[in-house]
Amino acid sequence: MTPVPAVSDVVNTASVSHLIIVFAPLLAAILAGLFQEALGRRGAHRVTIGAVGLSCLLSLKVFWDVVVLGGPVVDATVYTWAQLPGLAIEVGFLIDPLTATMMVVVTFVSLMVHIYTIGYMEEDPGYQRFFAYISLFTFSMLMLVMANNLMQLFFGWEAVGLVSYLLIGFWFRKPSAIHANLKAFLVNRVGDFGFLLGIAGVLMYTGSLHYAEIFARAGELTAIEVAPFGVPVTVATLVCICLFIGAMGKSAQVPLHVWLPDSMEGPTPISALIHAATMVTAGIFMVARLSPLFELSETALSFILVIGATTTLFMGLLGVVQHDIKRVVAYSTLSQLGYMTVALGASAYGAAIFHLVTHAFFKALLFLAAGSVIIGLHHEQDMRRMGGLWRVMPITWATSVVGTLALVGFPGFAGFYSKDAIIEAVNASPLWGSDYAAFAVLASVFVTSLYSFRLLFLVFHGQSRVDHHTLEHAHESPAVVTWPLVLLAIPSVVAGAVLAEPMLFGGYFGAALHVADGREPLHELAHHWHGWFSFLLHGFTTAPFWLMVGGAALAWFLFLARPKLPGRIAAGLRPVDRLLNEKYGFDRFNEAVLARGTHAMGTGLWGVGDVFVIDGMLVNGSARVVSLVASVVRHVQSGFLYHYAFAMIIGLLLLLVVFGRVTTPF
C-alpha cells in the first residue's frame, strides 16, 4: 500500500494541525475542569466533545496523508526541554504510519466514549469533572503515541497512569475504588521502575533519548556484555527486558496484571477507553515502537513470548468463573493483551498492532455494551441477576453479538484476521518458549469462546433472573449510548478484512516497525494468502475455528441447556474452583507479603534504626544528651540559644584576632 519512506522523506517541522490534535483536548480538559460551574454540564460536554472531535478529524487527515497517500514521515522538535552539554532533551513529534494508526484509534474511541458518557453519567454530580478527566486522558495518550523520544513517551506513560488513577477513584467515597486506584498506580510504578532503568540504559549505550538517533546506534547494544545479576547478558537483553517490565505494568501482563481487574471500580466508559482500548495497549505500542531494539535480543523476545502466553491462557481461564459482567470483560482484556504480547515476542509487530486496533474497537464495544446493560438494570453488575435481556435491549444485544463474534474470532469478523495471524506467527517462531506460546494461544481460543458466550448467554438469553421490580423499569438505553455502540460495531466487523492485507503483508508501517533479517514470522501465512475473502472461507476449516465452536457449544450446554451443571462441577472440583476464585493467589500474596512486608520493614527500620540505634545509642545517646541539655536550659529560658549563637560569633572573631596576631607573618 505504502512505499517504504526513504530517509529523505522526513519532515522536520510539526504543522499547526499536529499541535491542535494534541492540545485541543488539553485545553478542553482545563476549561471543563477549572470552570465547572461557569460551563455547566452541557458546556462541559460540548467543549470536550468539540475538542476531541476536532482532534479525531485532524487525526484522520494525518492518517490519510501518511498511510493512504504515503506522505512523508514527520520527526519534528517542538521545544527544547533541557539542554545540557552533550545532551539535548527535546519535546517533539514522530508521525509515521504506526503513530497515525494509534492517533486514529485513540481519538475515535475517545470520541465515542465522550458521547456515550453523556448518557452514562447523566445523573452523576461529578459530570464536568469526568469530562475533564477523559479529555486530559486523550491529551496524555496522544503525547505518548506521538512522542519522538523516550522522555516524552515516559511523560505520556505516567500521565495516562495519573488519569487512570483519578478515574478508577472517580467515586472517591467508595472504599473499594480508592483501594483499587492506589493499587493500580503502585503496580504500574513497579513497571515504570523497570522502564526507567531501560531508558537509562538506552541513554548510556546510545547517547540519546531521541528514537531516530537511538535506532541509528542500536547495533552497538549487542556488542557489549554486562552481568548485573551475575549472569552475563548483552546490553540489548538487559535494556529490552527492563523496558518490557514497563510494558508489563501498563499492559497488565502476569505478574503485574493484578491492578486491571480491580480497575473496574471506575465508571464503565473509562473501562472501555482506558482499561481496554487505549491505555493498556501502550505497552504493546512501546515495544512495537522500539522494535529495532527488541529485535536485537532473542532472550528478551523469548521472555516476552512466555509472559504473554501465560497471561493469555491463565487470565482467560479466570474470566470463566467471574460473575461480575465487567470483570469478565476485564479478564478477557488481559487475555487479549497476552495475545498481542505473544505477537511481539514472535517478532510479528504488525500482527500485534493489527490485533491492538481490532481489539480497541470490539473491546470498547463490549465494555460500552456491558455499561448499557448496567444502566438499563439500574447499576446491576452481577450476571446471576440478569438473563433474557435481548428482548428488552435489542440494540445492546445485537451489538454485543457483533462484539463477541469479533472477540472469539469468528471468520470474517475483525478479531478473526488479527488473531489467526498471531497464531500463525507463533507457530513459525523458532525462539525458545514458542512451543509453549503456540499451545497457549491455541488453547485460549477455546477459553475465549467459552467465557464470551457464557457472558452473552447469561446476560441476554435463557430465563430472566432479573428481579421483578428492576425488570419493570429495565429499558433500552438512550440514543447517546446506543449510537456509539453501533458506530463501534461497524469497525468490529470490517476492520479486519480491510486492514489485514496491508498491515500484515503490505508496506503499511513503512520503516516504523523493524524485523531482523531472516526472521519472517508471517512468511508462511503470506504464502497462503489469496485475499481476505478466501482467507475467510479457509477460516472455517482450521483448528482455531473448531476450538471456537467447541467453546461456544460448551458455553451453550453449561449455561443455557443445563444451568445447574456449572455449580455441581465447581463443587466437584473444589481445589480448581478455589484456585480460580482466588485468582491464583496473586492478590493475597501481594497484600500479605509485599504490602505488609514493606510496611513492616519501614516500621522496623524506623523503630530500630532511627529511634533506637541512631537516636538512642549511636550518637552516644543523643536523645539523652538532648534531654539533659534541655533540662538545664529550661531554667535559662528560651533566650539561651539566642545568646549562645551570638557568643559563638563573637568568640569566633576574638579567636581570629588572637590567632591572626600570633601566626600572621605579615
Binding site: Y79, P85, F185, V190, G207, V226, T598, H599, L652
Partner: protein
C-alpha cells in the same frame, strides 16, 4: 544589588518586628508583605540581568572588612547561587502571605523573624568570603531557633536543642577547616581556597570537617534524625523555610566548598557518599511509609529526596575524569541542582497543605482525617497535585531532577540506578497512601465534615506553587540553563587533581 537583597529584608524585618507591638497586626502584615514582595522582585531583576553563558561570579561587591586578617565583605553570584536566592525570596513571600491564618499572637515578630531569616540566607548564598559566609551561616540559625522556640509545638525545647546540637557540632568543624585553609592560603576568599593545592591527607581531613556541617544540614543518613523532630515542632512557616531553603544550605555547601576544594578526597570517599545517599533514598523511603504524623512523613520524604542531591553530586566522581562520559557528569550535577530547587517548591507546598489542615483541625495525625475531599474539594485538588509532584510524576518539577540523576547513575553502575529508582515505587507509596487516608473516602468524623475550603489567600499561595511546579516540570530549561555553565565549570574543576 546583592547588598540590597540581603539588607532590605533584614532591616525591613527588624522594622516590622520592632514596630509590631505598636501597630495593628494587619499593618505589620501589610508592611511585611510589601518588603517580601520587593525582595522577590529584586531577585527576579537579579535573574533577568544575569548572564547565564558565563561561569564567573557576577554582581560582585568587594569591600574591605577586617583588613588585618584579609577579611572582606565580598559578595557575588554564579549559576549555582542565583536559583537558590530566587527560591529563597519566593518561599519567604509565600510564608509571609500564609502566616496570617496560622499564627495567633506576636504576628509582627513572627513576620519580622522570617524577613531577617531571608536576608541572612541570601547572605549565605551570596558570600564569597569564608568568614562572611560563616557569619551568615551561624546567624541564620538565630531567627530559626526563635521561630521554633516561640511559635513551636509542645516539645519545641527538645526539638530546638536537638537541632542546635547537631548543627553546632557540624559548624564548629567547618569553622576549623576554614581557619586551617586560611593559614594555608592566606586568604578567606572562597574562590582562592578553591585554587589552593592540597595533599590528599589534608583534603581528607577538610572533607570530613565540611561533611560534618553539610551532611547534617542536608541531612544525610545517619545524621538526619533532628529534622523530623524540628519539623514536627516548628510552625508551618518554619517547616516551609527549613525544608525549602535551609536543607539546600547543605547542598550548596557541597557545591561551593567540598567538591571544588577537596576534589581528590571526594573521589576517594565517593563510594561511601553514594552508599549513604542510597540508604537515604531506600531506607528513609521505607521509614516514611511507617509514619502516622503527616509532618514526619513529609520530613522523611524530604530526606529521601535530598538523597538524590547527594547522589548526583558524588556520582560525578565516577566519570569526571572520563572524557567520553563527561556529559553524564553534567547530567548528574544538573539533576542534583534541579532537585534542590524543585524540592524547595514541593516540600514548601506539602508543608503548607499540612498547615492548612492543621490550622483547622489542630492535628497532624493522618488518622484524625479521612474524606477531606468532601468538604474541601479545591484543597484536595491542590494537595493531589503536590502529592503527585512529590511522587515524581513527569510534568511536575519533582520528576526532572530524579530523572536526570537516575539516568546519570545508571552510567556508573546498574545497581546504583536500580536502588535509586525504587523511589518511583516508595515515593508513590508513602505519598499517595497518605493522600488516600487523608483526602479520599467518606467523611470520617464530624470535625472533618465541618471543615471549610481554602480561603482566597491560601488559594493564592497554593496556586503560585502549583504554577511553578507545573511550569518547571513542563519546561525545566530556564533553571537548567541558568546553572549549566557554572556546573560545567565545576565538572572541569573537580576533574583536575589538586594534589601538588
Amino acid at each position: 544589588m546583592l547588598s540590597l537583597l540581603i539588607w532590605l529584608p533584614i532591616f525591613g524585618g527588624l522594622y516590622v518586628a520592632l514596630l509590631g507591638s505598636r501597630v495593628a497586626p494587619v499593618h505589620a502584615e501589610r508592611d511585611a508583605i510589601a518588603i517580601a514582595a520587593l525582595t522577590f522582585i529584586a531577585s527576579l531583576a537579579l535573574w533577568a540581568g544575569f548572564d547565564a553563558t558565563r561561569a564567573t561570579m557576577q554582581y560582585v561587591e568587594l569591600l574591605p572588612w577586617i583588613p588585618a586578617l584579609n577579611v572582606n565583605y565580598h559578595l557575588g553570584v554564579d549559576g549555582i547561587a542565583l536559583p537558590l536566592i530566587v527560591l529563597t525570596t519566593f518561599s519567604t513571600l509565600l510564608v509571609i502571605l500564609a502566616a496570617g491564618a496560622s499564627v495567633h499572637g506576636r504576628l509582627a515578630e513572627y513576620l519580622g523573624a522570617f524577613l531577617v531569616l531571608a536576608g541572612l540566607m541570601i547572605g549565605v548564598f551570596a558570600a564569597l568570603d569564608a568568614i562572611l559566609f560563616y557569619v551568615f551561616w551561624e546567624a541564620m540559625l538565630i531567627p530559626m531557633f526563635l521561630v521554633i522556640g516561640v511559635w513551636g509545638g509542645p516539645r519545641r525545647v527538645y526539638a530546638t536543642i536537638k537541632f542546635f546540637l547537631y548543627t553546632f557540632l557540624g559548624s564548629v568543624l567547618m569553622l576549623i577547616a576554614l581557619l586551617w585553609l586560611y593559614f594555608q592560603s592566606g586568604t578567606f576568599d572562597i574562590l582562592g581556597m578553591q585554587q589552593q593545592p592540597l595533599s590528599l591527607d589534608a583534603q581528607n581531613l577538610i572533607f570530613w570537617a565540611f561533611l560534618a556541617a553539610f551532611a547534617v544540614k542536608i541531612p544525610m543518613w545517619p545524621v538526619h534524625t533532628w529534622l523530623p523532630d524540628a519539623h514536627v515542632e516548628a510552625p508551618t512557616g518554619g517547616s516551609v523555610v527549613l525544608a525549602a531553603i535551609m536543607l539546600k544550605m547543605g547542598g550548596y555547601g557541597f557545591l561551593r566548598f567540598s567538591l571544588p576544594i577537596t576534589p581528590d578526597a571526594c573521589r576517594v570517599w565517593a563510594p561511601l557518599m553514594i552508599a549513604l545517599s542510597l540508604v537515604a533514598i531506600v531506607y528513609v523511603g521505607l521509614v516514611a511509609l511507617a509514619q502516622r504524623d503527616m509532618k514526619k512523613l513529609i520530613a522523611y520524604s524530604s530526606i529521601s529526596h535530598m538523597g538524590f542531591v547527594t547522589l548526583g553530586f558524588f556520582v560525578v566522581f565516577a566519570f569526571a575524569t572520563v572524557p567520553a562520559a563527561a556529559h553524564a557528569a553534567d547530567l548528574a550535577l544538573a539533576g542534583a541542582m534541579f532537585q534542590m530547587i524543585s524540592h524547595g517548591f514541593i516540600s514548601a507546598a506539602m508543608f503548607l497543605c499540612v498547615g492548612v489542615l492543621y490550622d483547622r483541625m489542630h492535628s497532624r495525625e493522618i488518622s484524625a482525617y479521612g474524606g477531606v475531599i468532601n468538604p474541601m474539594p479545591r484543597f484536595a485538588a491542590f494537595m493531589l497535585l503536590f502529592a503527585m509532584a512529590n511522587a515524581g510524576l513527569p510534568g511536575t518539577s519533582g520528576f526532572v531532577g530524579e530523572f536526570m540523576v537516575i539516568l546519570a547513575a545508571f552510567q556508573v553502575d546498574f545497581w546504583i540506578a536500580l536502588l535509586a529508582a525504587t523511589t518511583l515505587i516508595l515515593g508513590a507509596a508513602y505519598t499517595l497512601w497518605m493522600y488516600k487516608r487523608v483526602a479520599f473516602g467518606e467523611v470520617a468524623r464530624p470535625a472533618v465534615a465541618a471543615l471549610k475550603d481554602i480561603t482566597p489567600r491560601e488559594h493564592l499561595v497554593l496556586t503560585s506553587l502549583a504554577a511553578v511546579v507545573l511550569l518547571f516540570g513542563i519546561w525545566p530549561a530556564p533553571i537548567i540553563d541558568t546553572s549549566a555553565a557554572s556546573l560545567h565549570e565545576l565538572v572541569q574543576q573537580v576533574a583536575r587533581s589538586k594534589i601538588p
